[in-house]
């Protein structure tokens, strides 16, 4: 997009017919390649790589669909999981539940942390440095390590057993850096004139933050939230040891009967014992559809942001 725009302005300035500078006929290009075999090689490599990446995706998607779609059946969407119907509906609801709870916990903390880092912290503050380092560390920790930590802290030390809350807190810690980072970027993108304008009209700092800066940054924050949802939905290693393998809806937040398996964990468990491999693939199809929808929303938001900017 910007590419084309730039070219337009360029051609506008120099009264050359549009795109004249970059116009290369196929024959000229072939002659160029004949002169420079390296260029030809590089071009072929680039094309091969692109075909490989997109081909891989198509390959995997078709593989899932072929194995999964024939096994999708109405009874897999019963309200209650039994070993007979192997329903994934409770797992889907659990996924939504867990996503909502995790976001409720992590998003305010993440946004406030970003607000502190961008709006309040003074330059060169030691604490800010520490916060940045720890946030980066947190974002690099593999999910299995999060899972082990959650298991040690919530399930063993606090004796919560396998519980949805243990999973939620573990996930919240996992997505926190993501939310902080995207919110920070969104806040930095808010022009300083907004702040100055707000202060100039006599608003306090807090009022400026909540009434002027945050509303402007909402699309950016949303894109971070969507990314987090994607991460929560796809997560398995961190949840197996924390929220466990309860196939039905949790009855409590912690303690007995509070275990809740998200769709990904549900699929992992189904695939483990070899009794329900077909149903595992069917859940993979649903999971893929979920991921696709999440990506779609994220794309829409991104487009919205760039349109605003443009």
């Amino acid at each position: 997009m910007t590419d084309a725009a730039e070219k337009n302005t360029m051609s506008g300035n120099t009264t050359v017919p549009e795109n004249y500078i970059n116009r290369v006929t196929i024959g000229a290009r072939l002659r160029q390649y004949a002169r420079s075999p390296l260029s030809l090689l590089l071009m072929i490599l680039v094309m091969l790589a692109a075909i490989f990446a997109v081909g891989m995706l198509v390959f995997i998607i078709i593989y899932i669909l072929v194995n999964g779609v024939p096994h999708l059946s109405a009874e897999q969407f019963s309200w209650k999981y039994t070993t007979e119907n192997v329903s994934m509906l409770p797992a889907i609801i659990n996924t939504l539940l867990m996503t909502a709870m995790t976001l409720i916990l992590a998003v305010p903390i993440g946004i406030f942390a970003a607000v502190y880092l961008v709006e309040y912290a003074k330059r060169g503050n030691k604490l800010v440095k520490v916060i940045r380092v720890t946030t980066e560390t947190l974002s690099g920790i593999p999910s299995i390590v999060f899972g082990l930590f959650g298991f040690l802290m919530f399930n063993i030390s606090l004796k919560w057993q396998f519980s949805i809350l243990a999973g939620v807190i573990t996930l919240a810690m996992m997505i926190l850096p993501l939310i902080i980072r995207t919110t920070e970027e969104a806040l930095l993108a808010v022009p300083d004139s907004y702040r100055e304008g707000s202060f100039g009209l006599g608003a306090g700092k807090m009022r400026t933050v909540f009434r002027v800066i945050l509303p402007t940054a909402v699309p950016g924050i949303m894109s971070g939230v969507i990314l987090s949802i994607g991460r929560i939905v796809g997560e398995s290693a961190a949840l197996i040891f924390t929220s466990g393998s309860g196939h039905n809806l949790p009855g409590a937040l912690i303690g007995s009967g509070s275990s809740a398996a998200t769709l990904t964990v549900h699929m992992y468990i189904l695939s483990n014992e070899g009794l329900h491999t077909d149903q595992a693939f069917a859940s993979a199809v649903v999971l893929l559809a979920l991921t696709f929808i999440i990506n779609l929303i994220s794309d829409l938001i991104e487009r919205h942001i760039s349109k605003k900017k443009g």
Binding site: N19, N22, R23, V24, I26, R29, M47, A50, I51, V54, G55, V58, F59, I62, Y63, V66, N67, P70, H71, T82, T83, E84, N155, I156, K159, Q161, F162, F241, G244, S245, G246, G251, S256, G257, S259, I269, S271, N272, E273, G274, L275, T277
Partner: protein, 333 residues
């Protein structure tokens, strides 16, 4: 501009992708039961999805002209992970657990054996590899792999009951007696598992019931029970829990499948009411305050690929395969 060029390249790329996708379609449909080398031969038939046993074996016949009675390839040994209940029982029964120089019993499974931490993983690996041998719980056996006879005895519920098929292990539950007594629902559930009705569910699912004459009558208790442990016991325990809940609707049962060790730990630490284990409890675990109770027996099926012509194997040969003395299928008697 370069648009024409890129567009033409783009279409070429899309065509290539479509071709790739076409291949993947064939691979995906037959890949789970036959190696990809043979999948090209039956690419014209839009084969139904996986587990088409006859299909894959016929394509193998096309590939190998001589109907060999024995493979002449290196054996791929597939094993469960260290301390899995299934592996523990298997190595003990097969004599793979041998005394080392220090005189302590040690699992001598060869170091280069493939390790997989799920029954399904073992089955998928064996189903996709002609040279593989593995072992799984009898209750999970399906037609993607072939169970071989051990010492001439077929693996079946009857043969395990009669003791002729030697590779079997117990399914156990364990609990702290005081904690169980305090939970009326859990006590009642244990009574149900041990009853004729409960054991009927166990044998319906392909496991070997224990002899009992006690009948169970619903007592109308209410409460919550949490179970935790073996992934082998878990599936049948879920069936038991469902049947029990049908009789006692006021009871909620939570079955967590984490592993024998984790279940025993949870029962010891009191984070669950009942632990499930697919191996006998160790003395130190009983000393820690747990009461073990056997609820069923389970056979361990020794499995090979469907295309492997072998039908019978001796326990001595299994031992030698797993300890690395035998490396090739042709070395078998």
């Amino acid at each position: 501009m370069k648009i024409t060029r890129t567009l033409s390249l783009g279409t070429a790329a899309l065509l290539a992708i479509a071709a790739l996708a076409g291949c993947s379609n064939d691979n995906g449909s037959s890949g789970s039961s036959s190696p990809s080398s043979s999948s090209s031969s039956d690419s014209s038939t839009p084969a139904a999805n996986n587990s088409s046993a006859a299909d894959s074996s016929s394509s193998a016949d096309e590939n190998s002209s001589t109907p060999a009675t024995k493979l002449d390839t290196e054996i791929t040994v597939v094993s469960r992970e260290d301390e899995s209940g299934t592996r523990g029982a298997f190595v003990e029964l097969m004599g793979i657990e041998q005394k080392n120089e220090a005189g302590e019993k040690e699992d001598m499974t060869r170091g280069d054996a493939e390790i997989i931490n799920s029954t399904n993983g073992v089955m998928m690996s064996v189903a996709g590899n002609v040279d593989a041998i593995g072992y799984i719980s009898l209750g999970s056996l399906n037609d993607t792999v072939k169970a071989v006879d051990v010492n001439g005895v077929e693996v079946s519920v009857d043969n395990i009951k009669s003791g002729e098929y030697m590779v079997a292990r117990p399914f156990m539950i364990c609990y702290q007696q005081a904690k169980l007594d305090a939970n009326a629902a859990a006590t009642d559930f244990v009574k149900y598992i041990e009853s004729v009705e409960g054991q009927a569910i166990i044998s319906d699912n392909g496991y070997i019931a224990i002899d009992t004459t006690d009948n169970y009558t619903a007592s109308g208790v209410s409460g919550a029970i949490s179970l935790n442990g073996s992934t082998s016991v878990g599936p049948v325990m879920e069936k038991l829990a469902e049947a029990y809940k049908a009789l006692n609707p006021d009871v909620s049962i939570d079955v967590q499948q984490t592993g024998s060790g984790a279940g025993i730990t949870a029962a010891t630490e009191g984070t669950c009411d009942i632990g499930m284990s697919s191996r006998e409890l160790k003395q130190e675990e009983i000393d820690a305050g747990l009461t073990p109770l056997k609820i069923a027996d389970d056979g361990i099926a020794v499995i090979v690929n469907l295309e492997n012509p072998i039908e019978d194997i001796s326990s001595d040969e299994i031992m030698k395969i797993y300890t690395g003395e035998i490396n090739n299928w042709s070395e078998l008697a």
